[in-house]
Structures are given as structure tokens and as C-alpha cells.
Subunit: 217 residues, 2 copies
């Protein structure tokens, strides 16, 4: 196993590594065996030195004068990110978005296996979606402890996100991905990530407006 240099790794680097993995997979499917940082950079929309620097946090994966072996590099990055294993995940909140995620193939393909789903709506409890039976939220803490689940996904309405988080924390979860548009509080040792695609729509709307303003100057 490559040893990670002991430096703090920028958040932004992690986000980019995920993109690199994605693009490397596409290249692998296209039968490309070797790739230069320049070409990879081009298809990921970043600067070549950026890629080299990002990779340097974890080790030396390239061959000077040649480039990177696509398969090797992908595996190395995945290992560096802790993705050379599967992660058990539970979901809280089975609304439209929750259902979509339960049925989404890509999660499993990337090593994130949803092992249970919870909701507090009695009409939903007992329903089966993509092979998973919706259970009552109150069973959550015990279940996650029993199954050794480490990651929780919150897809409740915003006002119930904190309660969902509390259940997850009680259940000894180590990380939370919150899809609800509300901030949650969690102890230091629990990692929290927010997903809110409304932000991206905001951002697009803003940038369109800016472009137009610039066009007038």
C-alpha cells in the first residue's frame, strides 16, 4: 500500500480525485492504456499541474516521459480515497429523492450499498423499494449498530433532518450525507457532507445573469 504523505489534504483535491476516477473509467472503457496529465486535465476541465500536485499527496503514480497507466492510476486513487472496499449505508426518509437513490444503480457500483431504509410515515413502513423494506425510524439506532453501518444518508424534509441525524448519531454512524436543505449539528467525530442541487441551480442562474450584465458593458 502506498503511504500517504502526512500533510493535510485539501477538500478540493478530494473532490477532483473523484472526477479523475470518473474520467479514467471512461478512458479505460475506450481502451486507453496510458494517459498524460495534460490530456487527463483537459477532459476533467482542470490544469495539468493541478492533477500532478493532487496525486503527489498520495504518492508517485506516474512514469516520467510516459504518463500514467490508466488502470493502475484509477486503482491507486480509489485506494487512497478509501474506496477499495464497500461501505454499508442506511437511508432516512423515503420520499421522491430517497426512492430515486434507492433505485440508483451507480451507488452500488461505486461501493456504497444501501442496506436499510427508514421513514416515520406509517403508510410507507413495510413498503419494498429496490429490494429494501422501509422500516420505522425508531428502529434505526439499534439496526445500524447491529449491522455495523458507517454512513447515513438523510433524504427527509428539512424540518426533520436534525431528528434523522440524531437517530444516526445515536446509532453510532461515522458519516452523514445530508440531502435535506437544512444545516444539521453533529459531534466532532461525525463527518457531515451536504448535497443541495438547488445551490447549483442558483449558481447557474447567477452566472447567466452575470454574463448578461457583462455583455452590456
Amino acid at each position: 500500500m502506498h503511504l500517504q504523505k502526512y500533510e493535510k489534504i485539501p477538500r478540493a483535491t478530494i473532490a477532483r480525485l473523484a472526477v479523475y476516477v470518473q474520467e479514467l473509467e471512461v478512458m479505460e472503457q475506450q481502451g486507453i492504456k496510458v494517459i498524460s496529465s495534460e490530456k487527463l486535465a483537459w477532459s476533467c476541465g482542470v490544469n495539468p499541474s493541478q492533477i500532478r500536485k493532487d496525486l503527489a499527496y498520495f504518492g508517485e503514480f506516474g512514469v516520467r516521459g510516459v504518463g500514467y497507466y490508466v488502470y493502475e492510476l484509477r486503482e491507486a486513487i480509489k485506494q487512497s480515497l478509501g474506496l477499495d472496499r464497500t461501505w454499508n449505508v442506511v437511508m432516512v426518509g423515503v420520499g421522491n429523492l430517497g426512492r430515486a437513490l434507492l433505485r440508483h444503480q451507480l451507488l452500488r457500483k461505486r461501493g456504497f450499498v444501501i442496506v436499510a431504509a427508514f421513514d416515520c410515515d406509517p403508510f410507507k413502513i413495510g413498503e419494498e423499494i429496490a429490494g429494501i423494506e422501509v422500516q420505522c425510524s425508531s428502529k434505526l439506532p439499534q439496526s445500524t449498530i447491529d449491522m455495523g453501518v458507517e454512513i447515513g444518508i438523510i433524504t427527509t424534509p428539512p424540518e426533520r433532518a436534525q431528528r434523522a441525524a440524531n437517530y444516526l448519531i445515536e446509532g453510532g454512524i461515522k458519516g452523514i450525507v445530508n440531502f435535506a436543505p437544512s444545516r444539521i449539528t453533529a459531534p466532532e467525530n461525525v463527518v457531515v457532507e451536504y448535497v443541495d442541487f438547488i445551490h447549483n441551480l442558483f449558481s447557474v442562474a447567477f452566472n447567466i445573469t452575470q454574463h448578461q450584465i457583462k455583455g452590456l458593458l
Copy 2:
């Protein structure tokens, strides 16, 4: 209208402004009329000066010695972001995720109205979801031109994302939010944002691993 100072506004600022709007709405619902940067910062999980600096890009919204009027501030931010209007949106790709977004109330509530949905699967064409009839993708460019749509959402499988983008570009769209896990290329004048929640799962997985490594030291 407040005049924006002519400086380039950091991407990160835009992302945070969206969070501020979210939290301000929660506060408004709780009947809070005035808020200090310190309290708002606390509930958004950022530094108070950060908030003041972010707002300063757009104008002076606060009252010294008092704080910010919640309603006023929210409106001012929305105006600054170009959200004091509605945006017509079209969707390409009606899979699990597309359906979830079509049914999602929040998009409309935030001023993003999905006015049409397209797919190339003949089995899906004609189907009606949340009051919107799925149309054949080939009709896309003409429809967006006719309806004056400015934003396109891509929720196709990755291998079809570029083609979807091409249709949208041909249709004169100004911004794209790509939910498919693949990079797309678009002309300079088209704004592109990527949404990929797998990245956030990667990030959580990585941070959990890191925490554990740190724990061992």
C-alpha cells in the same frame, strides 16, 4: 436596485449565499426579525466575517450596532443572485432521478419551473409525470427556442450526457446543470454546473478513513 461592486465574486461566496438564504428562511418562519452576522454564521457553520465580506460584494445591507433585518436581507441576496424572478427549465433524461426532480416541490418553490421533459426512449415518450408530458428529445432544440427556456437539466446516463448537452446548446440554452457523472463540453457562453452526489459519498468515506488513521497515531 443595489449596484454590485465591480469585482469578480468568488464561486464559494455564491454557494454560501444560497445557504444564507436557506437559513434566513428558517429564521423568518421562527419569527426572528433581526439577526447578527455572528448568529447567522453560527447556524450556517461559517465565520462571521465571512458573511459580512460575502454580503459586502453586493452592497451594505446591515445596520451597525443592530444586525440585519431578516426579510430584507433575504430579499437582497435573492436579488443579488438573480433569483427575484422565475427561470424556465427543461429536463433531458427521465430516469429515476429525473422523475424525482420533476416531482420535487422545492425547485418550483425556489423559482425554477420545469416546463418540459425529454427522453429518447419511445416507451417513456407520452408518459405524464407531475403534469408534464415526456417528449421526444429530437423536439428539444425547437421547443426551448419557442419557449424561451434558459436553463437545462441533464439527467441522462453518462454516455448520453454530451448528446443531451448538444441538443440544449442547439436550443439556445444559457446554462446547464449536469447530474450525469460525466464531463461535457460547451461553448464559452454556456454556463455549466455539475451535480454529483457520489462525490460527497466519496468525501465522507475518505474523511471517515482519515479520522480512523488519525485515531491510530
